[in-house]
Amino acid sequence: MRVRFLAFAAAALAAASLMTAPAVAQDKSIIVSSTTSTQDSGLFGYILPKFKEKTGIDVKVVAQGTGQALDTARRGDADVVFVHAKAQEEKFVAEGWGVKRYPVMYNDFVLIGPKSDPAKVKGKDILSALKAIHDAGAPFVSRGDKSGTHAAELRLWKEAELDPAGSKPSWYREIGQGMGAALNTANAMGAYVLADRGTWISFKNKEQLEILVEGDERLFNQYGVILVNPEKHPHVKKEYGQQFIDWLISDEGQQAIAEYKIEGQQLFFPNAKSGS
């Protein structure tokens, strides 16, 4: 009886020791802290296998909001950051946490809202649309998570000379979650929400939501990639990390980004040469 019990325990221990095996085998790998928009839209699922095929490097993506992704890198828990909030990225490099920022690609933000459009924003430019939402007191879902999209939303409110994030009226709802969760929430509440187009196109629970404002150049969303500074964190895998960056901005990487489509729509537009 006791023997059987011990055998059971030994089996569990064997299972536990299996855990370490894959960790050792995946040596040629880097950790990239990136945003939920690049992951949820499926871009990484499309381009990373191509990169791995060419170089044999396994890219492990930890998808977080831009603020958290930069923080993860600052702590030295990532080798490369791939995010979209230019001001924060430049600060990150200026403070010495990153080596250099490379522009990679852009997509754009769209204002999503209920088809009934209570604030009548459809077809307006983004600033008038935000003013209309403000004046009507129509529900608006904010990411509220220091992500790149959140930063863009705050910048747009500021340009519209409004400050709901500061005055916190009841129609302005900060949920502190990712893009998908914000869309789910907006759908459930019949609210407006700013989203990146990539996540929106691949989002499966649209129901009563649709795009109301798009194409405004203020909705431009630039992505940048940065190698974490090995001088701050000596364990950073700088060769592999730089190889990944070089590939992203090479013709091959840029083409792979342009090729990625969902339902025939291109989600990201490479601009490593011309971008800012």
Binding site: A16, P22, F44, K60, A63, Q177, G180
Partner: protein, 229 residues
Amino acid sequence: MEASSALELILTGDATLFAIVRLSLLVTLSATFFAALIGLPLGAIVALTNFPGRHAVIVVLNGLMGLPPVVVGLLVFLLLSRSGPLGPLGLLFTPTAMVIAQTVLITPIIAALSRQVIEDLWTEYREELMAMEVGPLTRVKTLLWDARYSLVTILLAGFGRAAAEVGAVMIVGGNIENFTRVMTTTIALETSKGNLPLAIGLGMVLITLIIFVNALAWAVRRWSEAHAG
């Protein structure tokens, strides 16, 4: 995982789903094993010894059964981060980190519940064991052995808690595809992608798995009761 429903994934024997299920079981069973290794002796010691502050220890142990997974995740994250005290080990965002977090999460559950069970049994056996004049080690062995069925139920409670949590593994594992993605983090991810039918389907798969593990434990118990002698 490109599919509209979990059923489709199961029926087509989807390799990604299989890998996720395997990792979930591996992480949680390992955590249960290590938590048992620490929690059972700890429970027995607190049950059978007298020391100053024992009542406080019991209250704290019982209280820690309610440890929020997200707090455990954050603590283990800060510990394992490259900027943290155990940073040089490079364990953050690995399955090992997930095992550590879940072990921390459920050790108090196993220790607190086994303490209660063993103490109750001790009250019952006390005179008998005293009369037999056996040493403390034999006492502990006898009590642990006679409480084994209750202890297995306790381990299952710990297993269930670890298998169900998402907050800790999300933070320390990073939900990296093909590496640290488990059932609960997949469900959270699919929910955020608006893939609600797939998310709920995967939830059903997870519940089925947990029930299956419990059924297995039940079968072992029935079998060993039938063969006990």
